[in-house]
């Protein structure tokens, strides 16, 4: 039977019957796999890129020395390892001392990315692959200015003295979390034991950094992660870049969701194309089925025969499509590899497997209802042409197809919410579209009567084949929806990224400004061209009571957020006292009066289980500070603005030790401003986040380029689906045109009728797509990407205009050959 099925398939292929189906499915699979391949590789590469900010692909963090078994396993797996030890201690230089974050590193650190050092304070820096030599220390600008030391000076760390060999300007691992951290001193791991600072009971953080040797070693890292996770002991945890760097996590997550969205929409487009092509195929096989029944083939046999044939077709399309997809992504990488500046790892095996499976599943799922219908074609049809197949129960018949599409959607989306929103949006669109198209077709005859003959012909043609038109318009609006949706979300995404690391965003923070220095600092900065800085009062305090509950780290041991909660309650954090909330802060619960009560950042509130109305008591250097929570705020931590967990009303700090903090943008080459500021006010500390921002901006550029590429690719696929939908009716149209021509219609008149038909179809599909895209884009922005979304009338313009132009253009293109052919040829088509 298999042999017979393949023979029949081969014949059908030669006859051209199957080519359209194969092409549609292969194209669909190609788009699916190309997006998947590319997204896969970009994802891996972006991960590697982001890992420079973790200094590794994965870090095992522990509060006690790391078990050698972890190191052995990582090395045995072919991974590179490096260990760091960090703790807080005093650094001394002559009379001055400063609480410092000490970090001991060994050669090879960091495993990802580079450190950057400068020969003196505020001088130009450069990347380095080295680490401090034994006996030497690298210090950051805060420590250098705080201690008043320069290169060559000695500083004391515990029992040893180290020579300052460089100013450390960038350490990827520290990232944006600069506010909470003490100044940095980096020394060689060999010197660590001699400091005598690491002893039983010391609060030390040990990190085992792990990274692949090549960019494609992600699988080894994943395997190590899986191996290590169940073996973690108390006080040990695994971190990847997402845990370590929340501001990058958001960028990566959004980029990944966008790639997911693009892949998802390609699934839908693929499904639409397959459905259209198979529908045509089945319609052309009614006669054949009846004939074979006449020849004595049983229903079951024919069903199996066709199922095998179609399965083989799906397999072929899957393989072909995967190969095409691979070529397409290779082309993209080749063309744009330089532009996106990511060392792309080799593609994984998953996309082609997914492609082949998708090919088979798509074909079978979409042909199954049609096959079931075909199987019920009465054999008597060979004698009585008027007998067709019994109509399929529409919902039931499409169930298999929809189920497969839903499965592929969720697989591709990898996230229930994204899948549900897009799936639901599309299903809603389809139902609404069917209804709307039917309604829109109602007045067509009335309209047609008032139009010139050619236009009337086109309009009536649409109306006459109501269901055919409905299906076609549904497929077209789906294609257009995909295009509009990808454009809209991409716009929202790019807007947010542009704001996040804008060129003029603050890149210097000045802390430790004393209340009596506020006016002088403001004047000094204004005098050097940096005007309108806002100075925020700040006090450091530790949360000790929430309502009646005394806060203890031991309260937070079970929940998913509790590691973070524990860290938060163990240390002091920055509060401010303001009348007006800083820009970008949005009150999400309660109300901020500016006169009383606390406003708490919503993430902190969730982590520490603080509710609106709770009384909070802080300990600020031994002095109490209390108030009731009157509002919860959303804060954009990744905005590089000064932000606070808790804001108290003005005057709340009157009895507390307080200082001021400010941020501003310092244009490149203006290092002198800082030198002057520090000279005038030696107690100030300047924090430089320029390098962090440059890194972030670079990454955003690359992510944007990747998103742009996927967008363009999906766009091309969307257009192809439009073409496929119009091609699906080609033979029928050919006969129609042949008949019109035979009955005396001029080529011009036929053209005009076609143009009318395509225009009406394009406008209907475009309008529907615009309506759906507006809704779905809003939902996606709100619920999935968590971005502000501005509704724009441009969507409607793009929907109607784009729909009209695309359908008209593609439709005329698809009918071009038929218009040229002599009518006789068109009439003889079977």
């Amino acid at each position: 039977m298999i042999a017979l099925a393949l023979r029949l398939l081969a014949r059908e292929w030669r006859a051209g019957e199957m080519r359209v189906v194969l092409l549609a499915v292969a194209l669909a699979v190609a788009s699916l796999t190309a997006v998947r391949y590319f997204a896969d590789r970009v994802e891996q590469a972006l991960g590697t890129e982001a890992n420079t900010l973790l200094a590794a692909d994965l870090a095992l963090v522990s509060d006690h020395p790391i078990d050698a078994a972890f190191v052995r396993e990582a090395q045995a797996s072919g991974l590179r390892v490096s260990q760091t030890t960090t703790f807080l201690s005093m650094t001394l230089a002559g009379e001055r001392n400063l609480l410092t974050g000490i970090k001991a590193v060994a050669a090879g650190y960091p495993l990802r990315g580079d450190l950057r050092i400068a020969p003196e304070l505020f001088a130009a820096d450069a990347p380095t692959r080295a680490v401090p030599a034994p006996g030497e220390a690298w210090v950051d600008s805060r420590l250098a200015s705080g201690l008043g030391v320069k290169l060559g000076d000695q500083v004391d760390v515990g029992a040893i003295s180290l020579r300052i060999a460089a100013i450390l300007t960038f350490e990827g691992e520290r990232g944006g979390n600069f506010m909470a951290l003490a100044p940095r001193l980096m020394l060689n791991a060999e010197d660590l034991p001699r400091t005598g600072l690491v002893q039983v009971g010391s609060r030390v953080v040990y990190r085992l950094l792990v990274a692949g040797r090549e960019a494609g070693d992600q699988a080894k890292v994943t395997a190590f992660h899986a191996w290590a996770k169940p073996r973690l002991g108390r006080g040990e945890q695994l971190e990847d870049v997402r845990d370590a760097r929340p501001e990058l996590r958001q960028v990566l997550d959004r980029a990944q969701r966008y790639l997911g969205l693009a892949a998802l929409l390609t699934v839908l487009l693929a499904a639409a194309a397959t459905q259209m092509a198979l529908r045509r195929y089945v319609q052309r096989h009614f006669d054949q089925f009846a004939l074979l029944r006449c020849f004595g083939a049983t229903q079951r046999r024919l069903f199996s025969l066709y199922l095998l044939q179609l399965g083989a077709l799906g397999l072929l399309a899957g393989v072909l499509g995967s190969a095409l997809g691979w070529l397409a992504q290779a082309g993209m990488v080749h063309l744009l590899g330089d532009a996106i500046r990511i060392g792309l790892p080799p593609p994984s095996l998953l996309p082609p497997l997914l492609g082949v499976a998708a090919g088979v599943l798509l074909v079978l799922a979409f042909s199954l209802p049609a096959l079931l219908r075909l199987a019920r074609v009465p054999a008597l049809r060979v004698l009585r042409r008027d007998l067709g197949a019994p109509p399929a129960g529409a919902m039931l018949a499409q169930g298999a197809g929809l189920a497969v599409v839903a499965g592929l959607l969720f697989w591709q989306a990898g996230e229930l919410r994204l899948g549900l929103i897009v799936g639901g949006g599309v299903l809603g669109l389809m139902l609404a579209a069917a209804l709307a198209i039917q309604l829109l077709l109602l007045p067509l005859p009335w309209l047609a009567q008032r139009m010139p003959a050619s236009v009337r012909l086109g309009l009536l043609n649409l109306r006459r084949r109501r269901w055919e038109t409905t299906l076609q318009a549904m497929a077209l609006s789906l294609g257009l929806l995909a295009l509009l949706l990808l454009t809209l979300v991409r716009g929202d995404l790019f807007d947010s990224w542009r704001n996040q690391a804008a060129l003029g965003a603050p890149n210097r923070f000045v802390i430790n400004i004393q209340p009596e220095q506020v006016d002088a600092v403001r004047q000094s900065l204004a005098g050097q061209g940096i005007a309108d800085v806002i100075l925020y009062p700040t006090a450091r305090a530790r949360l000790i009571r929430i309502g009646e509950r005394l806060v203890s780290p031991d309260d937070y041991v079970d929940g998913s957020d509790d590691a973070r909660a524990k860290r938060l309650v163990e240390r002091e954090f920055n509060l401010s006292s303001l009348a007006d909330l800083p820009p970008n802060n949005e009150v999400v619960a309660g109300r901020w009066s500016g006169q009383e009560g606390f406003s708490v950042e919503v993430g902190l509130a969730k982590t520490l289980r603080i509710n609106l109305g709770d009384e909070l008591v802080f300990d600020a250097g031994g002095l109490p500070l209390s108030g009731r929570v009157t509002s919860l705020r959303k804060v954009e931590w990744d905005s590089f603005q000064v932000n606070f967990f808790v804001i108290a009303p003005p005057g709340a700090f009157n009895a507390l030790p307080q200082s001021f903090i400010t941020s501003f943008h310092l244009p490149p080459g203006r290092g002198a401003v800082l030198a002057r500021l520090v000279a005038d006010f030696p107690n100030l500390t300047v924090i430089d986040v320029e390098q962090v921002m440059v890194e972030l901006r670079g990454m955003l550029d690359r992510v944007s380029a990747a998103v742009e590429l996927i967008f363009l690719f999906s766009l091309a696929v969307g257009v192809l689906v439009l073409l496929a939908a119009l091609y699906a009716r080609r033979d029928e149209r050919a006969r129609e045109i042949g008949l019109w021509r035979t009955l005396g219609a001029s080529r011009r008149r036929v053209m005009l009728a076609l143009a009318t038909e395509f225009t009406a179809l394009g406008l209907i599909a475009g309008g529907l797509a615009a309506a759906a895209a507006s809704g779905v884009a809003w939902l996606l922005a709100e619920r999935v990407f968590e971005l502000p979304h501005a509704a724009s009338p441009v969507v409607w313009l793009a929907g109607f205009g784009g729909g009209w132009l695309l359908v008209l253009g593609a439709g005329l293109l698809a009918s071009r050959g038929i218009l040229q052919a002599p009518p006789m040829q068109s009439l003889r088509r079977e």
């Binding site: 023979r7 019957e17 006449c294 054999a379 008597l380 042409r385």
Partner: protein
């Protein structure tokens, strides 16, 4: 193969009314006999043919082939019976447009699992004089040639009954005559029973017996095959 039609009836419900397409039709066809079913359009000829072929089930009565009642078989059983015993020729030829002439003839043989499908099909194409056109598609053949391919296909499975529905309906008189000649010749060679539905008086007259249907009822007397030529004339 012996065909016995007993009190055959077929009716359909049209709204409130019951419409009898065939009513109380009985006759027999002996092995090797040739029978024409004639009558005006809508007299129930094609319905009768469909019932004989087991393509449809009667509302009443029976069709027996060598004593086996078709209505006792399920759909698959009837299909298997057709595959083993029947050949078909249609007014509209019913060749598959995507296949070549040879492949069209091979199709029923392949469905029957014959390994020698290509050779047998080739021989039959030769018998209808179309060896040279074996690789041509139906659209590249004239109407007469297409019907000859259909004849080759019908006889390739060595049927015991050949059912023909207006085999000359789409052909001109001259071509029709050639096709008929060929059909009778092949039928004689295989000693099959032949039942033809036709409007064509010339074709009907070549059959051993003619049965006339009017309003779904047989109006000509049912006679045995031995004397049927006399009655027909």
């Amino acid at each position: 193969m012996q065909i016995d039609i007993e009190n055959l009836g077929k009716s359909v419900q049209v709204g409130e009314e019951r419409l009898d397409i065939l009513a109380d039709v009985s006759f027999s066809v002996n092995k090797g006999e040739t029978v024409a079913i004639v009558g005006s359009s809508g007299s129930g000829k094609s319905t009768l043919l469909g019932l004989i072929a087991g393509l449809d089930l009667p509302s009443s009565g029976q069709v027996r082939l060598d004593g086996v009642a078709l209505s006792d078989l399920d759909e698959d059983g009837r299909a298997a019976l057709r595959g083993r015993n029947m050949g078909f020729v249609f007014q509209s030829f019913q060749l598959l447009p995507g296949l070549t002439a040879l492949e069209n003839v091979m199709l029923p043989l392949e469905l029957a699992g014959r390994k020698d499908a290509a050779e047998v099909a080739g021989e039959h194409l030769k018998r209808v004089g179309l060896s040279a056109r074996a690789r041509h598609r139906p659209t590249q053949l004239s109407g007469g040639e297409q019907q000859r391919v259909a004849l080759a296909r019908a006889f390739a499975v060595s049927p015991r009954i050949l059912l023909a529905d207006e085999p000359t309906g789409n052909l001109d008189a001259h071509t029709g005559a050639q096709v008929i000649e060929l059909m009778f010749e092949m039928n004689r060679a295989q000693d099959a029973s032949l039942i033809i539905v036709t409007h064509d008086a010339a074709l009907a007259s070549r059959c051993g017996r003619q049965l006339r249907l009017d309003g779904g009822r047989l109006v000509s007397p049912v006679v045995s095959s031995v004397i049927s030529p006399v009655v027909a004339q």
